[in-house]
Amino acid sequence: MANAASGMAVNDECKLKFMELKAKRIYRFIIFKIENQQVVVEKVGSPEETYEDFTASFPADECRYSVFDFDFITDENCQKSKIFFIAWAPDTAKIRSKMVYASSKDRFKRELDGIQVELQATDPSEMSLDIIKSRAL
């Protein structure tokens, strides 16, 4: 357990939706938020949705957690996919929101089994498609 963890609970639906994304691949992404002292699913994106649709789903001045199923082609022309976990904490978010999300992250991430790459972003440039691509390879 991390030092100074918040003790925030995780709603069962988070795990369920994540398993569906991982195993059945019926979602492109999931956005999670903290509400009433637990982490809940805020939004899911269908497999047709793009990375732009995903980034547009983040509020400009509030924190969120998210997972994204990223499809890409390797240098050897091989079709692959990787599951990203992105913690969104914009500079403009209230300090309280930043503290709550950061101190609950470790516990929450442990519930999601199968994350391959992790990112934390405080502005859109830190989670640009180029960065996602470079981290996937």
């Binding site: 030092n3 100074a4 925030m8 913690a87 503290m99 609950s104």
Partner: protein, 445 residues
């Protein structure tokens, strides 16, 4: 589990220079006062009391004196805590710190500081409030247990939590992984935090903090013939209507440590008002002709500060520079062994796992009292860009809000302790009674 979220918790961040204390859930600490205290030896007084113990009246007087005040006489000395008590000059009063090399060496002083915070600043009954204490990132187990013992046994607090400075700062900036550069009063600490854990092996500390810079400024001004008169050493009198002149007062029984403390208070204000980190390493000749900045001392004399404005902050980046300041030679040994800020950052990151170095380089958080120094963030970022590996994307972050920058540790603790979900995380009195002080390691890892 501690279930009392009805009363608000108390958050205390006892730094090497300043103690920050207040109610959880608030935006800033209610009480901010020096971590050093005044101390007067009580030898003679106690001896006098012992000689007439056979008289019943004296016995009664002694037992009546069993107020919180009598605790302060422990170790045959009287302690004076808080800005006001310290601001008043007393004969033979020494200024002492509870810390030695960043960890608590004198628990009696800490006890008095806590007591002052509870009873004189916050006006609370500690038995009713859970306490969250911020602690240094590499606080030894023995120290943590000592803190738990004192809190539960003496103050009888219902619950306690020890949170690490660096973790609180990191979380308060929205990051579970970051490199925290804490430029404090007594020292500078670099601590990598990964997913809420402090990577202990990579923590780096240097004794160069705000106070060292203050001393550099003080000595440098003295070498130029500028004498900073402590506030107690003169009185300003109106000689003609509207015309005030300082008159020197003589207090031969003032201790050297108190005189220095009083001078530092002034020098520290000069530093905060005029100093600024230079854009590139300080160069004597380049700054020889810079315009002077005026500063009015408390005694009314106006002094002019030139190159020292830039030279003093540069000591953070280049400690051996302190040797060129007359009067600072005594520190030459540690100024030589201490490393510069950017060098420490790079060394600390290189001690971490290769996989997280990139992330650390892009989340360097600047916090602490000295972090408010003008241009410090920009200079650190510039130096790191030059010295870091090519692929690294260097980003130094500091809250734009000076209160948040200065009190990031306290604010992080304040938010954490006020969360409904956190109430199950406290180390409760019942758990302490059942498992003992060592259980603090389990509850507050």
């Amino acid at each position: 589990m501690y279930g009392g979220d009805e009363v608000s918790a108390i958050v205390i961040d006892l730094g090497s220079h300043t103690c920050k204390a207040g109610y959880a859930g608030e935006d800033a600490p209610k009480a901010v006062f020096p971590s050093v205290v005044g101390s007067i030896d009580q030898m003679e007084v106690d001896d006098a009391a012992n000689t007439d113990t056979n008289s019943g009246a004296a016995m009664e007087a002694k037992s009546n004196a069993k107020t919180p005040d009598s605790d302060k006489n422990k170790g045959k000395r009287k302690l004076f805590v808080g800005s006001q008590a310290l601001g008043y000059r007393r004969d033979q009063m020494e200024v002492v710190s509870p810390f030695k090399d960043g960890i608590v060496a004198d628990w009696d002083i800490v006890d008095n500081i806590w007591d002052h915070a509870f009873r004189e600043c916050l006006l609370i009954d500690p038995t009713e409030h859970p306490m969250l204490l911020a602690e240094p990132s590499s606080n030894p187990q023995q120290q943590r247990e000592r803190a738990a013992e004192l809190m539960f046994e003496k103050y009888k607090v219902p619950a306690l939590f020890l949170a690490k400075n660096a973790v609180l700062t990191s979380f308060a900036s929205g990051r579970a992984t970051s490199l925290v550069v804490d430029c404090g009063g007594g020292s500078t600490t670099i601590a990598p935090v990964h997913d809420g854990y402090v990577l202990q092996k990579a923590v780096a500390t240097s004794p160069i903090g705000g106070e060292f810079l203050t001393d550099c400024l003080l000595k440098s001004l003295e070498s130029k013939g500028i004498k900073i008169k402590p506030r107690y050493s003169f009185k300003r009198k109106e000689v003609r209507p509207g015309d005030f002149q300082p008159f020197d007062l003589d207090f031969p029984s003032t201790t050297e440590s108190y005189r220095l403390y009083s001078q530092r208070v002034i020098a520290s204000d000069i530093k905060d008002s005029v100093c600024r980190a230079p854009d590139s390493p300080y160069d004597e000749s380049a700054y020889a002709n810079i315009p002077m900045t005026p500063y009015e001392l408390p005694d009314g004399q106006t002094i002019e500060i030139g190159s020292d404005r830039f030279k003093v902050p540069d000591v953070l980046f280049n400690p051996p520079l302190a040797q060129t300041i007359p009067g600072m030679e005594s520190f030459s040994e540690f100024a030589l062994s201490a490393r510069g800020l950017s060098q420490m950052v790079i060394e600390s990151i290189n001690k971490c796992d290769v996989d997280i170095r990139r992330e650390l380089f892009s989340s360097i958080l600047l916090a602490g009292g000295t972090a408010s120094m003008q241009q410090l963030k920009e200079r650190l970022e510039k130096d790191l860009l030059e010295e870091s590996p090519q692929a690294a994307r260097v980003k130094v972050l500091a809250s734009g809000n000076t209160t948040e920058r200065r009190f990031s540790v306290w604010i992080g603790g304040s938010i954490l302790a006020s969360l409904g979900s956190f109430q199950q995380m406290w180390f409760s009195k019942t758990e302490y009674e059942e498992h003992g002080a060592s259980y603090v390691q389990r509850k507050c890892p």
